[in-house]
Amino acid sequence: MMLAGLFGAGLLGWPGSKMLADLDQEQLRRSMRQAYGQAGLTAVEEWLALLNRLQQQPVNIQLGAVNDFFNLRVGWRDDIDIWNQKDYWATPLETLARGKGDCEDYTIGKYATLRQLNVAEEKLRLIYVKAWLGRGQGAQAHMVLGYYHTPGSEPLILDNIIPNITRGGERTDLEPLFSFNGSGLWAQGSSQSRADPLERLSRWRSVIERMQQHGFLRGR
């Protein structure tokens, strides 16, 4: 299920990290209220408060806080139950507003939030993993967010199954298969998206578009 998103995901990327300046807060509030009512508005306010709180914090605090924020506020459900789509990638605020999401939704939410907090893109990777849930339940496709302090180092894993941040090596229940991040989707030095029809097919593109609509990115 998760592998289906792979080739699209290869193109994904994240706009230049310009922090809160890129957020159109009014637009965010408006669109979320429109879509999810009071719950949406609350989610936005909480999320913005988180960003404000964490802005000047060291990265390990940011990682922990973001991980906890999403793990606490979002309950795990399969996409098909929430969105009536098999593999729907929600934006962080959609996830927060619903309070429900599957593993990709957690991972994307954390990734997007950390990028908003100016964490370097090359340090963050979304990792497809095989998760052993134990006791004969077999393996399941899963996604976690990895934080690489250096390209060669062992990553810190932000996951929703085990809510604490651990080093990759400690997670014997997870078997990493492949990882990616947003680099390559955006042209060098350009904040303009390469808007073309083929790329819109990508799940990431669709997430980003929706984020733009919601007001994540100003003046696009």
Partner: protein, 647 residues
């Protein structure tokens, strides 16, 4: 800038714009599409290969094999694997593969495709970065080819469009040209009507101008008719509409004194013997009616001879002048037939024509005097009358003191003298300011030791059928004369020549060969051409006019109405015959007619010249009536170049 040029510029501009626009759009959209496809391919292949590598053992041989297996398919320019420190693990690179594409095109297109990059994972750790660049040299070639093909198609389409445009422009230009010609014609007082073109705006314009032409034409026609009726009142006999005695005799005198074709011909005198008894028997009305029928018959006969005219000398006597006619016996028979035919029809009053007529025919030549001619005719008429038949005609045979005896002698003499050349003697036609209009040239041939005027040899030229040859020689002489002294020269052409297609053709060639002199050549044709052969005259004018020469009618005076019809013929001037302008003094009604003629001519853009101005007072009177030029015995040119009119 001309309209046509602007049209062409617009068409060319549009074509170039369409071509360059389509080419630009096509190239840029292909460029974008290709660039995107390559980028997607780079990303996809990188990810697929990185994914595969992530799942395999990370030893050098396996990675190298995987990379080269992928690379050897040939669709890659670069496959590179670097570890997390940036050191190269394996690297395969190929040529750019841009072939058969001009360098400038490559630089212009310059695909900007970032290489595909993906991380290879080894457990939780990143193992290496895979960089992959697809081979896109082919894309340059494809784009170059399609650009060439597109250009080719555009050249083809452009060619077809230009052909269409040419056709379209021509469709506009031709009627436009016709409209311009018509406007110019109207500007020159030639009120032609033009064919209506199919283009709507032009059609409306042409319709408007045609209406203008028609209105003006009708107007002129009315004026002409009024003038003609005035002239007839003045110069014609009220009952029979033939010339009055004095007018007829004036014209006869002019013919006898002329030095051209009119100096030879035939004179007929016809007397109604029983006029008094007829009057008594049938009354005035019937008599006048029958006199009219007789006069009409004679007029018909005169018209047949082109420049002939009929006059009523007194109540009983009619005279017919037929310049150029020479076969007396034949004419006598014709006259018998015509008069007999009259008797066969019942007149309007129910009374059959029964006038008893006696007549005499005589030939006249250049040296004959009018009194002698008439006394000879009177004698012959008395003979005819004696015979007492209802119609009796006598032919006066008189001794011809000819230069040569018989056709052969004349032919030889004429051929010989023509081979020596035609000599022109000229007299000036001048305008009111004493400036020369042109020199009126008379041809002369050297015959029997002397230069002889055309009146002497013209009948023989006609008889021997060598008039056209002679007149071509005359044209040559005139052109040579113009070339020599630069003065404009007029010459007179005969009707026979103008009917002769070969003559017209050769005349054209001569005018073409002497374009400079042609502009100073004034060609004159007989008035009868305008009365009888308007179409012929029109085509002659059209054929010669473009060469720059002037064309005019000579000896105009028998029918003024015709002047109104000359408006679209293309003539430049008229010469009014001396008979019409003589006895001008104290004759206010004649002055009125002449003033009318001059203004009618002017409104048609014709110059009007009077022949036979006798003295300076006469000339001055003519100028005051509106004449543009005068010629006559009193008009002289001094060798130093100035002109006078003798008192």
């Amino acid at each position: 800038m001309s309209l046509i040029k602007q049209l062409w510029l617009i068409i060319l501009g549009l074509l170039i714009l369409a071509f360059s626009g389509s080419l630009f759009i096509s190239v840029t959209s292909s460029h974008d599409y290709i660039e995107r496809s390559i980028r997607l391919k780079n990303a996809d292949n990188t990810n697929a290969l990185a994914l595969t590598m992530s799942q395999l053992p990370k030893d050098g041989v396996t990675l190298e094999l995987l990379a080269s297996a992928q690379f050897d398919t040939g669709h890659y320019r670069l496959i590179e694997l670097r570890d997390t420190q940036g050191a190269v693990i394996t690297r395969h690179q190929a040529e750019t593969g841009i072939e058969n594409v001009p360098k400038w095109f490559v630089e212009l297109i310059d695909f900007n495709v970032p290489p595909g990059k993906a991380k290879i994972q080894d457990g939780w750790q990143q193992f290496a970065t895979l960089t992959l660049e697809g081979q896109h040299g082919f894309a340059y070639r494809t784009l170059w080819r399609s650009t060439l093909a597109l250009t080719g198609w555009f050249v083809l389409a452009g060619g077809i469009s230009l052909a269409l445009a040419w056709w379209l422009v021509r469709r506009i230009r031709l009627p436009l040209r016709a409209v311009i010609d018509q406007a110019q014609n109207i500007g020159q007082r030639r009120f032609t009507t033009a064919q209506e073109p199919r283009t709507q705006e032009l059609r409306e314009l042409v319709q408007a101008m045609n209406r203008l032409s028609t209105v003006v034409g009708d107007q002129l026609g009315k004026e002409g008719q009024q003038l003609e009726s005035l002239r007839r009142q003045l110069q014609h006999d009220a009952v029979t509409d033939t010339l009055q005695r004095s007018t007829f005799l004036d014209r006869l005198k002019e013919h006898l004194g002329s030095q051209d074709y009119r100096a030879n011909g035939m004179l007929i005198l016809l007397r109604v013997v029983d006029l008094a008894e007829y009057n008594q028997r049938f009354g005035h009305a019937v008599t006048d009616q029958h006199l009219r029928e007789l006069a009409d018959t004679l007029t018909e006969l005169a018209a047949e001879y082109g420049n002939g005219m009929v006059g009523r000398l007194n109540g009983q006597d009619f005279a017919v002048l037929l310049p150029g006619a020479n076969d007396l016996d034949n004419m006598r028979d014709r006259l018998y037939q015509s008069l007999d035919a009259l008797s066969d029809t019942a007149g309007d009053a129910g009374v059959t024509f029964a006038l008893q007529a006696a007549g005499a025919l005589i030939s006249y030549g250049p040296d004959d005097s009018q009194p002698l001619l008439f006394s000879a005719l009177d004698n012959a008429l008395a003979d005819a009358e004696m015979r007492g038949e209802r119609t009796s005609l006598s032919v006066v045979t008189q001794h011809q003191n000819a230069l040569f005896n018989g056709q052969e002698a004349w032919r030889d003499a004429l051929q010989e003298s023509m081979s020596q050349g035609v000599q022109l003697t000229s007299r000036p036609v001048i305008d009111e300011t004493r400036q020369l209009v042109h020199m009126e040239a008379q041809p002369e041939l050297f015959l029997s030791g002397e230069w002889r005027h055309a009146g002497i040899f013209m009948p023989w030229l006609t008889r021997l059928n060598i008039t056209t040859q002679f007149e071509l020689d005359m044209v040559d002489a005139a052109l040579a004369e113009i070339a020599r002294n630069g003065l404009p020269v007029s010459i007179h052409l005969s009707t026979a020549s103008i009917y002769d297609a070969r003559f017209v053709l050769e005349l054209r060639e001569r005018l073409l060969a002497n374009q400079e002199a042609s502009r100073k050549l004034w060609l004159e044709v007989p008035e009868s051409l305008a009365t009888r052969e308007m179409d012929n005259l029109r085509s002659f004018c059209r054929a010669q006019h473009s060469r720059g020469c002037h064309i005019g009618l000579k000896h105009v005076g028998t029918d003024v109405r015709r002047i109104a019809e000359l408006r679209d013929v293309g003539l430049d001037y008229l010469k009014i015959e001396a008979g019409l302008i003589s006895h001008l003094k104290d004759n206010d009604r004649l002055k009125e007619v002449l003033r009318g003629i001059a203004s009618l001519c002017h409104s048609e853009g014709l110059l009007v010249v009077a022949e036979g101005a006798t003295d300076s007072a006469h000339a001055q009177a003519l100028f005051e009536l509106g004449f543009d030029g005068v010629a006559g015995p009193g008009v002289k040119r001094h060798p130093d170049g100035h002109h006078i009119i003798e008192d």
